[in-house]
Amino acid sequence: MIYDLIIIGGGPAGITAGIYAARKKLKTLIITKDWGGQINRASEIHNWPGTRVISGMGLIGEMTEHMKEYEIEIRKGKEVIDIDKKDNIFTVRDEEKEHEARTVIIASGKIPRTLDIPGEDKFRGKGVCVCSTCDAPMYKDKEVAVIGGGNAGCGAAIDLLKYAKKIYVLEFLEEMKADPIIMDKLMKSGKVECYTNVAVKEIKGKKFVEGLVYENRDTGKQTELNVAGVFISVGMMAKAGFAEKLVELNQIGEIVIDKDNYTKTPGLFAAGDISDIKYEQIVIAAGEGAKAALAVTDYLKKN
């Protein structure tokens, strides 16, 4: 069985590509570890046009339901480990099986970046968290730290507002990077304290997290903070090694595409945050997914 199209990834880009491909009657397989990915950690999305506020899980649920209205084959819970191309046919391999297709869209998104400091691995799940929507309720009346002052970090702090007694937000750069609408909400709560220009050096504890050590980046002065939880939100990274042979990767590991989603290999496309687009937003990823699927349709007509 040779598919017209295999989509790798089940986030907004992959699902939208799936909706468009299925509507074009392409024989399509979508392979994904999970529905959503980083969007699942967003508790409140304010900028999905047409919906005032929705949770990441809610939005991805609606998108998945939409896609399932059409004929599309789904392989969930599997991670793609290799792609190769021979005689104009792509072979996409996951942990268990090989699949063949005439075209491929890579839309596997990004995964959370790690800090690589002592204690981070040791206390993972024992106070070190990456998903605030999942873990915030466990920190009722506790003091917690969020590492990262961007939209994701401050979004995590918002999730924690309902539960935690006190929230410290630690940002490496000199300024907080979150949108004003989010910052306003945090500042009005009276529960949040932001430290900028600081580097977190260590996460400490016995069985569970008990605190962390941060350093002022100008003075080098180290300070210990007693917290029961550390939420890490220091951005995302692209992981496209499985396609290395067929695509060009930029310095930060993103797949280089042209403005119509073509990679350097004919028939292989990329869409969303895994590609080197400038802005990473849900609606942009969805638009990219649509564009890539329509580019595939054009490509299949010509080849």
Partner: protein, 322 residues
């Protein structure tokens, strides 16, 4: 009168309501369709002081019957999706002026927009005024518009069960419509001004197999019979056809007459040329949606929204750099 920079300053008390807004917005978005509203949502969420000027919220969405490719919404009326966008705009308190824009120019580094009732100023612009359906010059067509004569419609084929209909056009949209409606209609005429259909082969082949479709080449509809209801159309090849409905699928044209003065570069069809970040050839001016060459020319609702978001982020970065 109290001076309030948020409110227009009236120059005269005559009833023409001509005013010059003294305030300078960070961003003015021209157009209130999918691209314009999405740009507004992004601009607002990023803390920009922005204004949307557009006559119709939703733009062309209002002319779509059903939409089933906006991610997350399987089956929605075009007018309902337009309402969702409008309610999102209201929720975020993004100001909207429903006025028609007459002129856009740049003076001393500030963009000035003249509308039917006043003038607004901004540091950056997003042009998102979309396209308009191409209307044809057919005698009496206005009389029957939306009651027999339809532009860019998306009706269910079953509505025309047993009827005779005519479709004008030869590109994908016209041919697809002919194939779709032929399922139910008794007879479908496809009238095209050229000798060969322009649609994709797959659709032309499908069409050719249908026995109840008759393609009339090298012909134009010139007149609709002046009856109480739509009954007949007259072609310029001396033919008169008896039909129940007429669909015009002659494409869309960009609303780009406004941008001449700014010197915005367009392609040969009048679409605004945009780069990867929705920038135009003029600094501080971004463009998004159907009026542009963006998104490979695919012109989808979701790509318009995406372009609107990118343009807003572009405008934000531009202001930060300045």
């Amino acid at each position: 009168m109290d001076y309030n920079p948020q409110k227009p300053v009236f120059l005269s008390l005559n009833p023409c309501y001509n005013f010059i807004m003294e305030k300078i917005y960070d961003l003015i978005i021209v157009g209130a369709g999918s691209a314009g509203i999405s740009a507004g949502i992004y601009a607002k969420n990023f803390g920009m002081d922005c204004l949307i000027i557009g006559e119709e919220v939703g733009g062309l969405l209002n002319g779509c019957y059903k939409i089933d490719n906006y991610p997350g919404l399987f089956d929605i009326l075009g007018t309902d999706l337009a309402k969702h966008f409008e309610s999102h705009r209201q929720y975020l308190n993004i100001p909207l002026e429903q006025e028609s824009v007459g002129k856009i120019c740049k003076e001393k580094g500030i963009f000035k927009i003249t509308t039917s009732i006043g003038e607004y100023c901004a540091k950056t612009l997003i042009l998102a005024f979309g396209t308009q359906v191409k209307k044809l010059e057919i005698k009496n067509s206005e009389k029957f518009e939306n009651s027999g004569v339809y532009y860019r419609s998306g009706h269910n084929a079953s509505l025309f069960s047993g009827k005779t209909i005519a479709i004008v056009g030869g590109a994908n949209s016209a041919v697809m419509k002919a194939v779709k409606y032929a399922e139910a209609a008794k007879k479908v005429y496809l009238i095209y001004r050229k000798e060969k259909l322009r649609a994709d082969k797959i659709w032309v082949n499908k069409l050719a197999k249908l026995k109840n479709v008759e393609v009339i080449y090298s012909a134009n509809v010139t007149e609709i019979g002046d009856h109480k209801e739509l009954e007949t159309i007259i072609l310029d090849i001396g033919k008169e056809l008896k039909i129940d409905s007429l669909f015009i699928e002659a494409g869309a044209v960009p609303n780009t007459v406004l941008i001449g003065e700014l010197g915005i570069k367009t392609n040969e069809h009048g679409y605004i040329e945009t780069d990867k970040c929705q920038g135009t050839n003029i600094e501080g001016v971004f463009a998004a949606g159907d009026a542009t060459t963006g998104s490979n020319g695919f012109r989808q609702i979701i790509t318009a929204c995406s372009e609107g978001a990118i343009a807003a982020l572009g405008a934000l970065n531009y202001l930060h750099k300045k």
